[in-house]
């Protein structure tokens, strides 16, 4: 049985401008120890879907209006807020993009860390402090004992992100949601954090959902990749297959438009025309159709389903791709 199983998840927001569909019919599974990349551009629903799993969508204006989320045999959407709190930060942890706004500026790092163990594990103060110092040491923070008494503003961005990671890992979670964990950091610090996450994954064997728009980070970290567009999955594949042989025209466009260090710098970058659709007024057919180079007539009024492509466990939602069994 999978560790996490999401079925037909739907999230919408009720705004002054009408109802905005953020996530539609999202389904996926995640096994223990697996790393899944969730990629897509702003507004694709990658963060919102993860917040919904964690019960962190502000309601109102948010409404989780469909679906089931099973984690380790329990239906998360049916749990009481109290029962969910006992799971969050304990069996399921999360890291957010901005470590400054996710830490309380008025409390020392030590106070915020020990609280996690006191609440979830009923550990005494002294023991909690000892374990937290150990946790900070694990994420490569020098002189961890002394750092426990530091306030967040006394630490650099990279250090704060390490504190967030240490906090997320204190209870040895089975599942970690990492939402753009390195986006706010400089590349050399990003390299440090990615090494660290790779290391910790090996040691703790946890499953990770890595949410990011950075395809390079995904290429290095993930076993499988899910590509989202306008609230839906458009392609699902094993990492190598996705990068070497992308199927959905959106995935292809996305990969081609990333400037990288290998392509011919004098060539024009391939780009995707137009911009992502307005989620309050989604087109009737395929949401990508207005920007798609493979568009045919039926794309405008009927929507392609996420269906298998070839022999491997990969799927794509497009009418115009060859679904034959490939080598």
């Amino acid at each position: 049985m999978s560790l996490l199983e999401i079925r037909d998840l739907g999230v919408r927001f009720e705004t002054h401008h009408g109802s905005v569909r953020a996530v539609t019919e999202l389904s996926y599974e995640l096994d223990e120890g697996e790393t899944l990349g969730l990629v897509g551009e702003s507004g694709s629903g990658k963060s919102v879907s993860s917040l919904a799993v964690l019960g962190l969508i502000p309601q109102p204006p948010g409404v989780v209006d469909a679906g089931r989320v099973r984690f380790d045999g329990r239906d998360l959407l049916a749990l009481s807020p109290k029962a969910l709190r006992a799971i969050r930060g304990n069996e399921i942890s999360m890291i957010f993009q901005d470590p400054m706004t996710s830490l309380n500026p008025l409390l020392t790092v030590g106070r915020q860390l020990t609280e996690v163990l006191e609440v979830h594990r009923g550990v005494g103060r002294r023991e909690a402090r000892r374990r937290c110092a150990e946790g900070l040491g694990d994420v490569g923070i020098p002189n961890p004992e002394a750092r426990l008494d530091a306030f967040p503003h006394e630490l650099s961005g990279g250090m704060r992100q390490r504190v967030m990671i240490a906090m997320a890992l204190l209870c040895k979670p089975k599942l970690l949601f990492a939402d753009e964990p390195t986006t706010a950091l400089d590349v050399t610090i990003q390299a440090q954090i990615l090494e660290l996450m790779g290391d910790l994954r090996e040691r703790h064997g946890m499953a990770i959902v890595l949410i990011t728009h950075d395809l390079g980070v995904v290429a290095g970290m993930c076993d499988r990749v899910h590509v989202m567009y306008a609230g839906r999955l458009v392609e699902v594949a094993e990492t190598r297959a996705l990068f070497h042989d992308p199927q959905h025209p959106y995935t292809r466009g996305l990969l081609r438009s990333v400037p990288n260090l290998k392509s011919d710098p004098d060539e024009r970058l391939a780009s995707i025309d137009g911009s992502p659709p307005d989620l309050a007024a989604l087109p009737g057919g395929c949401a990508f159709a207005p920007r798609c180079e493979l568009r045919v007539e039926r794309c405008q009024d009927s929507r392609p389903l996420l269906e298998p492509v070839g022999a491997d466990d990969r799927r794509a939602a497009c009418f115009e791709i060859d679904r034959g069994t490939r080598a």
């Binding site: 400089d186 050399t188 290429a219 290095g220 990068f243 990288n260 290998k262 970058l269």
Partner: protein, 339 residues
């Protein structure tokens, strides 16, 4: 012919706090600490580095938003740092700027037409009726629908807003555009559109760009030459291909090795140079080479030169590159990082 822009020993130090009754600052933050480079007409120079390295402050010092503490900024032979406000005006027309956040840099209460006409009005370059025609032509030049001239900034997407910012910079037919992270707030597919647009415009209007970015892959697609900054100084400056295929300064090499590549095989096989620690505070930069506390090649330099002596930016034996490192023979592994 002299270069369009020639920056020499530019420094910008900011006072921090006040000490005692004297009113003197308690400390100085050395944001830019001796930056020199030239920029030719029609050329684009990338200024890269991590947060706090002084790249944006350099741009702001050039355009006079932060008067420089020391050094000269010569534009077409005239030292801009010495000009009075009044004497600056004609140069404001010739040097324009594009900002990172296209929304924050556009007045939400003006229509696009009036945003684009304003610079023409201020510089008294066109009659009111002609201004509107110019605005229409500018919208067309940046790939926006001229029929949207009466719309407000909020009615456009992020990428379209950045196009408006670019159109505004073009309005005065500048010779130099300083671009401060113009694509870093945009999604990948939109980012590529804007990069292509900037390249097309450069060719069409013979523009020089000073292109500030932290994304080395983006810079590679836009710039002829690249200057790498660390802690307020340029540590390496070289023509694009020389820099990307044979980076010399240890920091440039670490920076390039840290850029994630969209190829799982390369990503899994490669050896990243993972730097230890963080960038030191520009309020108390280390003595000697600013990079020495994090440098992976320090051991290869005899004695304690790295700790005591600031390396000067010097021309390498071969090619057109300059870099500031005591390891002047170049580190042994100067080969391409992604082969």
């Amino acid at each position: 012919m002299s270069p369009l822009l020639s920056v020499r020993d530019l420094a910008k130090h900011f006072p921090v706090g006040k000490a005692g009754l004297s009113g003197k600052p308690a400390a100085w933050l050395r944001a830019v600490d001796g930056v020199s480079f030239d920029l030719e007409r029609g050329e684009s120079l990338g200024l890269v580095g991590e947060s706090g390295c002084g790249k944006s402050t350099t741009a702001r010092a050039i355009i006079g938003l932060h008067p420089p503490t020391a050094g000269t900024v010569e534009f077409d032979g005239v030292d801009l740092a010495k000009l009075s406000r009044r004497a600056w005006l004609p140069y404001r027309r010739r040097i324009q700027m594009i900002f990172q956040d296209p929304y924050a840099s556009l007045d939400p209460r003006q229509t696009v037409g009036s945003i684009l006409a304003e610079p023409l009005k201020i510089h008294d370059l066109a009659k009111p009726r002609d201004r509107r025609l110019r605005a229409l032509a500018l919208l067309d030049a940046v790939g926006l629908n001229p029929r949207h001239i009466n719309r407000y900034p909020h009615e456009f997407s992020g990428g379209q807003r950045q196009r408006i910012g670019i159109a505004r910079a073009l309005a005065l037919e500048p010779e130099l555009i300083i671009c401060d992270e113009p694509v870093s707030a945009l999604d990948v597919s939109i980012q590529a559109q804007i990069i292509n647009l900037l390249r097309d415009l450069q060719e069409r209007f013979d523009l020089a760009y000073l292109f500030i970015a932290h994304d080395l892959a983006v810079v590679r697609h836009l710039c002829h030459r690249v200057a790498v900054m660390y802690l307020g100084r340029v540590v390496e400056i070289a023509p694009r291909d020389e820099l990307y295929t044979h980076p010399q300064h240890p920091y440039t090499r670490a920076l390039l090795s840290a850029v994630p590549v969209t190829d799982p095989d390369v990503e899994r096989a490669r050896r990243r140079i993972v730097l230890q620690g963080d960038v030191p505070s520009p309020m108390s930069p280390p003595a000697g080479c600013p990079f020495h506390p994090r440098c992976q090649d320090r051991e290869q330099v005899a004695g304690d030169r790295c700790r005591t002596e600031v390396p000067r930016l010097e021309r390498a034996a071969a090619g057109a590159r300059e870099y500031a490192c005591h390891l002047s023979g170049g580190p042994e592994s100067g080969s391409s990082l992604h082969d």
